[in-house]
Symmetry: C2
């Protein structure tokens, strides 16, 4: 349980305690130190994070609104995403990220493209596999697709869906390194070329690839 305290300490800026707790718990869930289905005992988690129950409860309520935790009877449990929901989310992402890619095609600054490409190359060249680096590269690519589509609402939806898919824990990430990198590079190339139809197609193909790998 000591790692939990560390994760909390990582978020020690000058801000409202309640918000820091929210960020800390979010991180605990994303990093799967709290995994799906875990029931949350308020006083225990509050102690670990070094705060009283009030700000923790507020953070949990907010997380419930965001869909990261759910109330089961009287207590909060970390949301568990099963295969069915994961696949459904991928279907929706196929539609949305396809659209976003089409909208972004030709609008991404060359500098951003260059940076993301280099990170993918570095990831492929890395001597040992680091899940964190994989996630980060993934974030970069999909952010590229979202952020230049000129539709913040669309971007926000995609971000939320990506969060959900990330909660699906069974996925074996390491196996996805090569396919992800390959498909990401294709998406980036399409974005660069400015061909909207191609970008849409590549983004959708990426989602379908993930889908097939998970059945």
């Amino acid at each position: 349980m000591q790692q939990l305290a560390n994760a909390a300490a990582k978020t020690n800026e000058e801000a409202a305690l309640s918000d820091r707790v929210h960020a800390a718990v979010t991180e605990l869930i994303k990093s799967q130190q709290l995994h799906g289905g875990d029931i949350i005992v308020e006083s225990r988690l509050a102690d670990i994070l070094g705060v009283s129950r009030t700000p923790l409860r507020e953070a949990l309520q907010k997380l419930e609104g965001e869909g990261l935790v759910v109330k089961n009877g009287r207590s909060f449990v970390v949301r568990a995403v099963g295969l069915a929901e994961y696949l459904q989310s991928l279907k929706v992402r196929e539609v949305l990220e396809g659209e976003a890619a089409a909208l972004s095609a030709g609008r991404v600054p060359p500098a951003a493209i260059k940076r993301v490409r280099e990170n993918i190359d570095a990831l492929l060249a890395a001597p040992v596999y680091l899940p964190e680096a994989h996630w980060q590269s993934d974030d970069e690519v999909h952010s590229l697709v979202c952020d230049y589509a000129g539709n913040p609402v669309l971007a926000e939806m995609i971000r939320h869906l990506r969060m959900v898919t990330r909660l699906y824990e069974t996925l074996n990430l390491a196996d996805r390194l090569i396919p992800d990198a390959t498909e990401h590079l294709e998406i980036i190339e399409a974005l660069e070329s400015g061909e909207a139809k191609l970008a849409r197609q590549k983004a959708q193909a990426h989602m379908r690839s993930l889908y097939k790998a998970s059945i």
Copy 2:
């Protein structure tokens, strides 16, 4: 301010106080007794609802997670949806509801279709215009599209987007009665026929119609 207390009283089942408050405030926002941009004074609203600040704050945090209120500095304000965001949401809905309609085509039980059709007819035949009835019919039609698509994640996204578009207050609903009813009937007919492409097209056309009416 007395109406506010009434809205609260409407939600007086046997449940956790915090959840009742959440439902009450949601209703206050949807019914625009609290409108976008209003700053929320915790103690005042808590008094009106007849609870202490703690459950109210928890409800507000949850609403923040859901995106119905936002924190501005130290206090909560009701989220204001502007024209830009409204139009962006419609664009996303065009994609998602199109997809949902295509998926639902031919899968909606005849009884459900019949019920919704009758309500549209009743709405058109009503001697006076009732916004509530208009909203309810709208809900029914779009729920038809969502609920039979076999993808709860997709349905949930659409529901959330519809919430956002509903917060856009400038829209003059009465002017939309005829076009909405007409387009809704076309969507329903397409769903009934089982032609996925047609259903997608009709749903998208409905969104584009809303879009054009708002520019």
